[in-house]
Symmetry: C2
Subunit: 215 residues, 2 copies
């Protein structure tokens, strides 16, 4: 789908009926011959991308490695198509691509001793984390881009606003942690680090449940 390349290159907000039509060399209204409306277009885009996802799972390194692989694949997907994190929020498109993905990812977590309902909940939990992370990363990128200034400039610009609000006396913990987090962020701390942290927490959380189930 041409709309996917458009979204990859210029973001979701560029995916407009008129724009997509232009890329295809058609008139805007011609699109409605193939697609009922914009919502369905987006659904199609999502399902198509799902269908194309890489599917290569280590079969025997234990559930933890498989779950991590699932998360990594989804993160890679959101990196390749940043608009996915913002779009797939509503009801899933329920197409063949999602189906295949669902099957694949369930198998990654199967044989953990969880019952079917727990299995579904665990997968949802894992994917929810990846999506939240991807969305945060995408937002950060968007802010940096449209404000057209670096982090440092932004913090400098809002310094006096911060000073009014960020009273270290009233908010000692926030001041302390905010400073540490800010420093870490501008230093060696990267989104990759945050992802690792979160994924570790999620897997540990699932591990606690799995251990309980398998005694």
């Amino acid at each position: 789908m041409a709309a996917i390349e458009l979204a990859d290159a210029e973001g979701v907000e560029a995916v407009t009926m008129r724009r997509v039509a232009q890329v295809l060399g058609l008139s805007p209204m011609a699109l409605y011959t193939y697609v009922p409306g914009k919502a369905e277009l987006l659904d199609l885009m999502v399902d198509t991308v799902y269908a194309r996802m890489p599917r290569s799972m280590p079969a025997d390194d234990g559930w933890r490695a498989r779950a991590a692989a699932v998360a990594d694949d989804n993160r890679a997907l959101c990196r390749a198509h940043p608009w996915m994190a913002a779009v797939s929020t509503s009801r899933p498109p329920l197409g063949p691509g999602l189906m295949a993905k669902y099957e694949y990812e369930l198998q990654a977590l199967d044989s953990t001793g969880l019952d079917d309902v727990e299995l579904n909940a665990a997968l949802t939990h894992l994917l929810g984390f990846v999506q939240t992370f991807a969305r945060m990363a995408a937002d950060e990128r968007a802010v940096q881009q449209d404000s057209a200034m670096s982090d440092k400039q932004w913090w400098a610009g809002n310094a006096e606003l911060l000073a009014r609000v960020f009273d270290p006396e009233r908010y000692p913990t926030a001041a302390r942690v905010g400073a540490a987090a800010g420093e870490a962020h501008s230093g060696a701390y990267s989104p990759a680090r945050a992802y690792e942290f979160g994924l570790g927490r999620v897997l540990d959380g699932l591990a606690a449940l799995i251990e309980k189930r398998t005694h």
Copy 2:
């Protein structure tokens, strides 16, 4: 702010410059006297709601109870103002309300033995989970409402679409788990249950880290 009540009653999409002005008995452009633009209006709404959040934390039931309380408060917030989950996604407004909330919630997790960077990451992780959950719940409600049909009707309507895609032979795991999850969902399984599951996983995940830090 009148815009907040409007959003509570009719959703974010109803928060339109013209609509808000109408509620206030003003002309649309009069709003620009008080607010630079719509983005700032939304920021103000978010920060105001943050400032009004209930803040009553059990001081001495252990970090797990405090973290659960933080999560519950945030969930309650998203239940009272469903638009929050959809709006606060971009950069936080960085106002006094957010500041107070941040301080309060950090204190809930302080004294867990985590260093400052981890503390911030842990809180982000916890809030991220709540937001993901809230967003999923809100989406579900939205779908049910605008399709104006119950879950059963929807599944019935899409049955033949599903039949084409949901081949139990190609996707055995998905069929099995999907059936179980669907049954659980229409039965006793409720969003509340899903929330409990996810929160349990998040807290267990943090517990693993905290135990490691405190030996």
